[in-house]
Symmetry: C2
Subunit: 226 residues, 2 copies
């Protein structure tokens, strides 16, 4: 079902998420709400936000940033692997640790079949996520080459161009899209208007919108929903 | 066809490979000959060895160690990705560079469909390959956790336990085998007798034999062919 999503709203469990905000998002027409953050994320905060979302019909996704804070209460678990990290830890290492922590647990292995892996390509060098993951910076063709490896070598169902906090280059997204056969292309970063949403949706299959809610308010956010 | 192979012979293009040696290997009953080496490998040396193998019926594989020395003249191209490397370069980086070097070349993209990817887990800390790739050392369960990620997250058709130059721990191979559903399990390292070949084939689907030819001679090598 997630393959038909065009617009995902990313809520940060470490921000202030009021009842009104959660209701407005859940009823906005967005295809899903992803609970995800990189800093100060605890399982408790994630669970609290998920419980607030429960009364609405919108599908929920948890996107963990570390094996220590995985929460299994959402409809989907989207697990990132950072294709352009200089550190193996972010590509396979944390994932292997996660398996090790749940070694031969039958429930975990069953769950694993419902996990969706995302091949991140992190492109804003000033973002916290680029610094933490030591992501290599590159031009459009190199980004597309990483995407190709994510799809053809790793068979990842999602390639995710992440400009975290800033609006990216549509030409990069276009170039990446041009090499993909089967993976869905996600784009995230700096979408705070209908124009930007429409521009990125020319190339990306799915846009992820988040910060605009906290930074520009609900009206700006609502304008990004197709 | 490669999925039925039980015994692969790895020849190093940087070693002395006489006509007699090549003939004996090609007619030994081994299932395939893999041309592979980590040091001083050039495309020229690889091509020379492949041309010597051409007159025999044995299937050939090239296993490149770097995008700069890929040779496309063999039946198969087995491309390693080092799951337990600390450096992203060995997991996705060199691969993306390889795609970049052949960007949107139609022949390359067609070829890519015939490439078989191997998820290496490098376990002998004293080996050149472990040092170059800065491979993390670990116990059997952690190795199996990496194998699980190689199969379930990356959908790799081959998981390859590499003890390069030394005979490994059969319990590690057994543990790794116990978590795999669909990937073929390759084992390489230190097989220089029929006993060791039989022991590792209890758990591994395929053994890779190589150094024994150069270090103990043809008779020791021939004893490893099932």
């Amino acid at each position: 079902m997630w393959k038909s999503w065009k617009h995902i709203t990313k809520l940060d469990p470490d921000r202030k998420n009021s009842e009104e905000l959660v209701k407005a998002v859940a009823e906005s027409g967005t295809d899903a709400v992803m609970v995800s953050g990189t800093q100060n994320v605890t399982a408790e905060k994630v669970k609290k936000l998920l419980s607030m979302l429960k009364k609405y019909n919108v599908p929920t996704v948890v996107e963990p940033s570390d094996p220590s804070n995985v929460v299994y209460d959402a409809d989907y678990l989207f697990v990132p692997t950072v294709l352009n990290s200089l550190d193996g830890e972010w590509i396979t290492g944390k994932h292997a640790k996660w398996v090790f922590m749940n070694y031969k647990d039958k429930n975990f292995e069953d769950l694993f079949n419902r996990v969706v892996f995302e091949g991140y390509i992190v492109l804003n060098p000033n973002s916290a996520v680029a610094k933490v993951t030591r992501s290599l910076q590159m031009d459009a063709k190199m980004a597309a080459s990483y995407a190709f490896i994510g799809e053809r070598m790793m068979k990842l169902p999602i390639i995710y161009i992440e400009y975290s906090g800033t609006y990216g280059d549509p030409e990069v997204v276009k170039e990446v899209k041009s090499v993909l056969n089967s993976s869905r292309l996600f784009y995230g970063g700096g979408i705070d208007s209908r124009e930007k949403a429409i521009e990125m949706l020319k190339y990306a299959d799915t846009i992820i919108v988040g910060n605009v809610i906290y930074e520009k308010g609900l009206n700006a956010y609502l304008s990004t929903v197709p």
